[in-house]
Symmetry: C2
Subunit: 139 residues, 2 copies
Amino acid sequence: MIISDNLKMYVQKLRSSNLRPTKQRLNICQFLFDRKKTFHFTVETLNKKINKNGATKISLATIYNTVEAFTSAGYLKEILTSKNKSYYDTNIKSHHHFYDEGSKELTDIHYSQIKLSKVPVPPKGKKIKNLEVVIRIQK
Amino acid sequence: MIISDNLKMYVQKLRSSNLRPTKQRLNICQFLFDRKKTFHFTVETLNKKINKNGATKISLATIYNTVEAFTSAGYLKEILTSKNKSYYDTNIKSHHHFYDEGSKELTDIHYSQIKLSKVPVPPKGKKIKNLEVVIRIQK
DNA sequence: TATATAGTTTATAATAATTCTAAACTAGAA
DNA sequence: TTCTAGTTTAGAATTATTATAAACTATATA
């Protein structure tokens, strides 16, 4: 797949979510999704990496806005593992995580690697929105 | 069980964890553990409830210190469900949680209500510290 | 029992992540 | 081309938490 083609794809994708394909959003799309492996990040790390090569500066507020917009549009998955900081994952398929307490890094666990043979019924009037397994690991 | 007896018990408990049984810690013990049902709280709510009846004031810093000390002593379990805020649970037995996105409330799921028939092997050199299932629910 | 000391509490300041604000900018409809 | 609603931005505000340093206290031991 040729990378220049992806731009058009991202424009489509954004439009389909009622998000205007702005320069900043497209840059962030390319940064996040033009890669083969899934990418785990915090807003802090994304901001640093995006703004490293002084070429285009995207403000921190926009990084926050965009990550929030992409998450509610379903392009990103938010994972809570650590006090005071949210992690995001470009892998939005149903899957779970290892969280390394030492390095503070997330690793995907493929959904087939965890099998739940029993899941509780939600309280009356409530529906299950999602089910997340986090396995904390350490040395 | 007579409540006045619990004080002695808490003194023992604290001593066994190398925590001096101070007035504040004993107050917090009584507030947290002199109850039949498990209790879920944030530092904010604990602080409000503890300091409601103007009798004894415990500073916010002490609430933070104590919750931290009780968590590392294993009297409390920390549950991460929400950006920017930690939840704690007086139920330290292995169990899981419903997190209601609307009311932002936690409910215990008894460990027998969830069965994992397959769990991944941790990466080389790492050990599993704990495994937590959070089921997000909504209307 | 008195006292020295290490642990604890406290008010307050500092920090860190995130959200808010309001003015300037821009995509895209008309 | 022009208008407007959506977007970006710098910076201020907010919120949860942690750090600081002085006052206090539990408790070991003289």
